[in-house]
Symmetry: C2
Subunit: 234 residues, 2 copies
């Protein structure tokens, strides 16, 4: 079992642990330790404590530099969405970690292997063990392979405002200039309507309207994002 | 003002910023930016977002390695106590950072300069700027000077169990062997009382009693800690 895991993380992520015991510990749930007291093993809970903080910093550092226009409140919200239980459980399954965690019988029978909280803790514990065994740069490499592509594919875009989400989608394959142009204003001063057009890479992506320029820009970005999503599906 | 701050962090902590603008940003509250819009400054909130995560990892790493016997739940509680608002505001004042933060007039008049939440954010923002300008090792050096001595002096010992707190106090000046010895048991099996004596550095630090060996050890450590505290005061 552990041998299969060793091959998996080597093949998929290029990781070779120096201390296999540490890797085993990361994949050992407390329920397994409780059922095998004579083996004097240690469960993965302390590694989870450490891995949680490793993840938090690496994601924060990425978001800080990658979303230079997002204010603190939005950064905090985005970070919370990425590191929350459901997301980390999804990453653990992406990595097939659920196959390798050692559970006690009771935990196994009550479907612990598919429970979000358990998989989230497992993912953090693995990161903690990787951080100790291989250092922070290796943990960052792993996150670059497992989490960052998901962010860049827009998995968390619903947490961003539409302009930021559009920028994220359009700039995935390199820098592209996104231009918001006020094309028309109408109505009396106290209830004016603004119309904004988005241009990117030399073509129009759509027009949005609103009671302020800012609202019109957000609307235009929302329209453009919906168009892009529809084109992908068709 | 900024010159005085530059001298202070150089003299006290051996830190020389490459990017003074970043240091200034860390000490710029949003209220100051709002009152000086023509200067097009940036406040310290995004730096605070990053610094929060820097602090969390450095403290977690320290606690993980320093308290090898503490289970995850206790580590999490101890970390929360160290990085909570009141503690970080205290560290900010220790560093005299409160003198240098730039506030708007309204914030100044409502005593913002002494408010815990503002000082906590300031401390995190400084850490964020230090992390960007000088790297994680420099942030760790700073924390080693400002926070770790407080932990080692027992400022957060009330959050530890007595045995851990005693170990912390006694091992401040290097490793010392702390020995818990069961010296006596009495009473019938169903209500047995255990007496445990602590020895360290060749002398007895006291005896504790309890209904289990574990409880007696905790009691003995509590007695020893109280003795040490009394001796310091007298």
């Amino acid at each position: 079992m552990i041998q299969e895991l060793i091959y998996l993380i080597k093949d998929e992520y290029g990781i070779t642990f120096k201390d296999i015991g540490l890797l085993e510990q990361a994949f050992t749930h407390s329920s397994y330790v409780n059922e095998h007291r004579h083996l004097e093993m240690t469960d993965n809970e302390r590694l989870e404590f450490l891995g949680d903080a490793v993840l938090e910093l690496i994601i924060s550092d990425y978001l800080y530099h990658h979303y230079q226009d997002l204010p603190e409140g939005k950064l905090t919200k985005l970070r919370a969405t990425i590191v929350r239980e459901d997301s980390l459980a999804m990453f653990a399954k992406d990595c097939q970690f659920d196959k390798f965690v050692r559970l006690g019988k009771g935990e196994e029978n009550s479907n612990g292997r598919t429970r979000s909280s358990l998989l989230c803790d497992l993912f953090e514990a693995f990161l903690g063990s990787l951080f100790i065994d291989q250092g922070q740069e290796a943990a960052k490499d792993f996150i670059d392979q497992v989490i960052i592509p998901r962010i860049e594919a827009g998995a968390f875009s619903h947490e961003m405002d539409h302009k930021t989400a559009l920028q994220e989608v359009l700039q995935k394959n390199g820098d592209i200039l996104i231009d918001y142009q006020l094309v028309r204003e109408e109505g009396p001063a106290h209830s004016r309507i603004f119309h904004v057009e988005i241009n990117a890479g030399g073509k129009s992506l759509g027009i949005g309207s609103g009671k302020s320029k800012k609202a019109a820009e957000q609307k235009a970005a929302e329209v453009a994002l919906a168009d892009i999503a529809n084109n992908k599906q068709s």
